[in-house]
């Protein structure tokens, strides 16, 4: 592969924009979303829902807005990420709508108000899309974020402490991770995870040489130096703090996992994984020995049907649902997903397994795999260390979150409370995930954009836009 002048290209090849391919995929993604909504209507009520035009139209407006924003603000961005996210979000809306219809059916005849979520979720998706576009338009160069390494770190820690504050912090289902802001509640942890990735990346890109080169060799592994253990111990304590004070197994695992992975990626030293893994096992065993709710979770994991009487029916119900769904599923409207508690949020994969079967679940897991792969690919082609680490950290968020949630729902690992990205009901999570995708697209736009040709004295305006003034933290 050579440039027209006969010299080898800078990286051997030049990325194309691929916006046409993105549009093509977006159209199929819309078919997944709107088709799912129609199929839910047909399956439950026997007719295509009356508001399909309004609903479908709104989805089209949102997706076209995203596409236009990407075309204008990030023309070289990855073509696959946005369609995958649009498809997952559309599928999630359809499944939540299906569970809503069952709830409405259940309270028919009584004067109880049904618990419905689909409309709220559509509102949250709209906010998410608005922030997605806002992020792409406002943030023209991700390297700017490196200036705010410690500011974002501090903001993340403040956000994490917020739910523990007396008035605004509230307890939901045992986990103290909510903040009550009058009409809406939010989970600050979802925002904190994005900020933490930026802070880790900014810290590691500056300190990775010290973390990577110093240390001694012991039993075939390079162990890090004692005084470099500071940040990893601090992160370990923060994760344990979340676990102990907020009773939130999932976030604790997520934050610690992100940090450890990014540390490993930045230093290329498996020694950190050994040390971090040992600390994690020690912490987990310690907490297990005295925290009652963790013991309950482990009990429900080991004996999903044995714990029926003690109240932990979720995992068992979800496994029954998936078994009934089988290979092809019952079809929308033909299952009983409402039997699983929280089937609209934590257990949405159980509902999908029941009504779309293993075939549907595999498609969804593959889509998550594609998101992670595109994120890591962005990290590979990105040319600056900070961008690499941010892209990698954001991809790892999805990887850990999906593994932890789907692993919990399918009884592979103990159940922890994390949301299924883009699928499950939850405003903070949905909005934060849309922003994450915007950040990854921004980095991939920078990474895939052809390198400006600087061989002439007077560069044109288009070429000078690449220049960033000294990015010093």
């Amino acid at each position: 592969m050579r440039t027209p002048n006969g010299q080898p290209g800078f990286l051997g090849f030049v990325h194309r924009r691929r916006r046409g391919a993105e549009l093509f995929l977006l159209i199929i993604a819309l078919a997944v979303g709107i088709g799912g909504y129609a199929a839910v209507g047909i399956g439950v009520d026997g007719a295509v829902p009356a508001n399909i035009v309004g609903y479908g139209g709104w989805l089209v407006v949102l997706i076209v807005a995203c596409h236009v924003a990407v075309r204008i603000a990030a023309p070289y961005a990855d073509p696959v990420l946005l369609p995958v996210v649009a498809a997952l979000n559309g599928l999630g809306l359809a499944v939540i709508r299906r569970i809503d219809l069952a709830q409405i059916e259940a309270v028919k005849g009584t004067d109880k108000a049904p618990k419905v979520f689909a409309n709220d979720q559509l509102v949250w998706m709209t906010i998410g899309v608005a922030l997605f576009i806002g992020t792409l338009v406002v943030l023209r160069d991700h390297r700017v974020l490196q200036r705010y390494t410690y500011t974002t770190g501090l903001a993340a820690i403040l956000l994490l402490i917020l739910p523990l504050m007396p008035v605004i912090g509230v307890d939901h289902y045992g986990a103290r991770i909510w903040v009550d802001l009058g009409p809406v509640g939010m989970q600050p942890g979802e925002v904190a995870k994005v900020l933490l990735v930026i802070a880790f990346a900014g810290y590691l890109v500056v300190h990775r040489d010290a973390l990577a080169l110093a240390g001694r060799r012991f039993l075939f592994v390079d162990l890090p130096r004692g005084r470099d253990l500071g940040p990893i111990l601090a992160m370990w304590l923060i994760s344990l703090g979340i676990l102990v004070f907020q009773n939130d197994l999932g976030s604790s695992l997520l934050f610690y996992g992100i940090f450890l992975t990014m540390l490993y990626v930045a230093t290329e030293r498996p020694g950190w994984l050994v040390v971090g893994g040992a600390l994690f096992v020690a912490g987990a065993l310690g907490v297990y020995s005295f925290a009652g709710h963790v013991q309950l979770r482990v009990e429900a994991w080991l004996h999903p049907f044995g714990a029926w009487e003690t109240g932990s029916q979720q995992v068992g119900q979800s496994m029954f649902g998936m078994a009934w769904g089988g290979l092809l599923g019952r079809g929308f409207g033909q299952g009983r997903p409402t039997l699983i508690p929280f089937s609209e949020s934590d257990f949405i994969m159980g509902a999908i397994g029941e009504e779309l079967g293993l075939t549907g679940v595999m498609a969804v897991i593959l889509l998550y795999g594609l998101i992670v792969e595109r994120g890591l690919r962005t990290a590979l082609v990105c040319r600056d260390g900070f961008g690499k680490l941010v892209a990698c950290g954001l991809a790892v968020i999805f990887a850990i979150q999906v593994f932890v949630v789907i692993g919990g729902v399918t009884d592979l690992i103990p159940l922890t409370g994390l949301t299924t990205p883009f699928l499950s009901y939850g405003g903070s999570s949905l909005v934060a995930n849309w922003v994450i995708i915007a950040l990854v697209l921004r980095i991939s736009d920078q990474a895939r954009r052809p390198i400006p040709d600087l061989s002439f004295e007077e560069p044109s305006e288009a070429e000078t836009t690449q220049i960033v003034k000294a990015v010093r933290p």
């Binding site: 440039t3 010299q7 030049v14 194309r16 019952r330 075939t359 600087l454």
Partner: protein, 159 residues
């Protein structure tokens, strides 16, 4: 709604889901290596600048460089041929020019070609790469004799 219709809808929906997954994968496949640059088809951005390139670029060339040499610092005299571009410079074992300099990062900088032009690019090093007196933050064009400072070491392109 008959059983059969519901079954057909279910299969159709699963088919749409999988068509989406497979088309996404096929887009990734065609995207794997980006565009091959042939004479007829160029990347849009490159095409714009290349259009006015030949006229100006030709008189500017004063013989192409053949190697990078360390001209100052602990490893003075070390060199690497430009045929093996991109050339990695740093303290790590995989660097083409390995520097024993405490102010150099494991993977410090890279020298590579784009068109006729050679570029030096900082790879996120701790102490930075300097061309002349200024620290570079993006790939910077260098010519024969441009002094590139990395830590306490100075390199330049040689004919």
């Amino acid at each position: 709604m008959s059983e059969l219709t519901l079954f057909m809808i279910k299969i159709a929906y699963l088919a749409v889901l999988w068509i989406f997954v497979l088309s996404a994968i096929s887009v990734i496949r065609t995207d794997m290596f980006g565009a091959r640059l042939s004479s007829g088809q160029q990347a849009p951005k490159a095409a714009k600048s290349k259009a006015k390139a030949p006229a100006k670029a030709a008189p500017k060339r004063r013989g192409a460089p053949t190697h990078v040499a360390v001209v100052e610092g602990g490893n003075e005299g070390e060199r690497a041929d430009l045929d093996q571009a991109p050339i990695l410079i740093g303290r790590g074992p995989d660097a083409a020019i390995r520097l024993d300099d405490d102010y150099v990062s494991t993977r410090h900088a890279r020298i590579a070609a784009s068109g006729d032009q050679w570029f030096v690019e900082d790879l996120g090093s701790t102490n930075g790469t300097y061309v002349g007196a200024s620290r570079i933050s993006q790939p910077t064009a260098i010519t024969v004799g441009t002094r590139v400072r990395i830590g306490k070491t100075i390199l330049e392109l040689r004919k």
